[in-house]
Symmetry: C2
Subunit: 397 residues, 2 copies
Amino acid sequence: MGKVLIIGAGGVGTVVAHKMAGLPKVFSEIMLASRTKAKCDAIAEKIGGNRIQTAQVDADSVPQLVKLIRSFQPDLVVNVALPYQDLTIMDACLETGVSYLDTANYEPKDEAKFEYKWQWAYHDRFKEAGLTAILGCGFDPGVTSIFTAHAAKNVFDEIQYLDIVDCNAGDHGKAFATNFNPEINIREVTQKGKYWENDDWQLTEPHEIHKPLNYPNIGPKESYLIYHEELESLVKNFPTIKRARFWMTFGQEYLTHLRVIQNIGMAGIEPIMYEGKEIVPIQFLKAVLPDPGDLGENYHGETSIGCRIRGLKDGKEQTYYIYNNCSHEAAYKETGMQAVSYTTGVPAMIGAMMFMQEKWKKPGVYNVEQFDPDPFLEELNQHGLPWNELHNVDLEL
Amino acid sequence: MGKVLIIGAGGVGTVVAHKMAGLPKVFSEIMLASRTKAKCDAIAEKIGGNRIQTAQVDADSVPQLVKLIRSFQPDLVVNVALPYQDLTIMDACLETGVSYLDTANYEPKDEAKFEYKWQWAYHDRFKEAGLTAILGCGFDPGVTSIFTAHAAKNVFDEIQYLDIVDCNAGDHGKAFATNFNPEINIREVTQKGKYWENDDWQLTEPHEIHKPLNYPNIGPKESYLIYHEELESLVKNFPTIKRARFWMTFGQEYLTHLRVIQNIGMAGIEPIMYEGKEIVPIQFLKAVLPDPGDLGENYHGETSIGCRIRGLKDGKEQTYYIYNNCSHEAAYKETGMQAVSYTTGVPAMIGAMMFMQEKWKKPGVYNVEQFDPDPFLEELNQHGLPWNELHNVDLEL
């Protein structure tokens, strides 16, 4: 039994609140806070049962966060706000003595850098304060890392080749929309490709490496090697990994739109002066694009995200493919949000549950693969994201 | 000899000022005014010889315009500002008793409509005041209408089929840029297609009708039927025309960029609320895109714009093709502006010359084809836009 404060009322925050509301034995009190209290109120009303308290907070402001945390006194803060806000929320947790969980690593606003260094630097302070910080507990990062930890613990003696494969075979019926915050999404997918091999990071041009991969229940989809943040912690925490890559599917139209958005300057993260006001092009674009939270209603098809792993067991090479498929329609029916929000929010809720049940609790800052994967994966099966595994199949990679 | 006030210091205003500066016997005094006086000062300094006076004026404000016109007392106002500002400038001309010339018809800001009705409604007032208003005196509209008037006067007894063909075979080396004000450009090319046939306007989807056409010294280029404003006045002033169409070349990449710009909502002309401020997406896009005035330096290739006409002469069907080719590099070398600005600015200067020399002067509001084309076309040959004609060739149309 514990009190939890959720910060962020987008699609993911909605799913987290929904899922926690149904588990009063784990989450006795829930508060949902964001910059716009009305968004929290709407979510709370939809969930009903007076399960969700709401509050207004500017997550860029440590004093505001501290004040809110002091007044509500949660056991855990679940941060599903923007990645820019990870550090202010961690600062507020340290100041108030509360543990922390998030779903995406900190990213400085003025450069598209995806590195854990800023958050890992908090390790000693969290450790000394006796507080737990759980980093990257969504689907990817999150479940993909827990799948890897499970393979390392229960399937292989030594994992050697890791390919995380992320397919969204959904169709939202819009000419162009991003599945989560467009600013973060576009920053992520337009960066250079990067993967781990030969004890070092290998760089590629954006979308330079791609091939069709077959996804369960979906079929072949062109998949692009991109950098994704969990690679950084996985190669550190599993040093037997010789090569680690991340693949994501994109449609031709999506890539064409991205290319044009960059060409016309609307992906820019440097502010320009417009009528006497500094405006960041990609932030203005976000305001013009469809709200990812509104995509759910007509979203068909499913996502398929998993890990394809090659390694050694009893001295012999084995292959292993562990994955979850999630239906956009089923996710929407349950929570009013599409699968991309659902697959991020459910793991965040389970990570919070692991903390409340003291299964994942150790002072310091940790990535999810540094905790025991077994209890997490048991719960994942119970809460809407059942996983499947295939042994010794052709990994195509 | 006369005094001229140029309003608008973009690429076209730069060309007009350059050209007028070299003709002191026609333009004894020249003032260049725009919202940003510094832009006028920079142009004046580059032209040198103390030929250009400068002033600040907000062309949306009739009182400001009246004040400036009263203090400078020009014989003619040459409006090369934005099409939104045609009516305020015409109002100021009426109030101060000064004649008027522009290069593009009035367009309301909140709907992409290209019609002469708003400006034609000023006819009686200009007539009663004894003032001349010359509408659409750029290249297209402008020279294309004068080419048509020349054909009607000197080549045919009856013109029947008119196709205006506008090819820009230049390469500016940028992934995407527009050749003139991107806001006006995108509004124009994303509207539905429209042409005149069977005594009525025929509508098409945007870019629905297209075919490759051969352009002199350039070769075949895919050409798209779009609506262009001179069609409206031409079919009115030459009632023997059975069909009138306008074709413009676009590259595949340009069209892809346009399609995406529309898909993502950045072509929108309705303001959206952004951080408490109303911002029109297409106006913000304009601020992000390359300034058309900066395209000149690396612009290669040439434009080719003309009229392909079929009609009767002495009872027999004849064909006629009259056109000008303009080199981006030559235009830039002479004025620091590329050919799209050059081909608009030179005709505006010649129209102003026609007025000063009293060759084009009659009280009322007139489109250029309602004046004598001969003296204009003579000057066009002298001032950088020589034209060519071909008789009885295959028009491809």
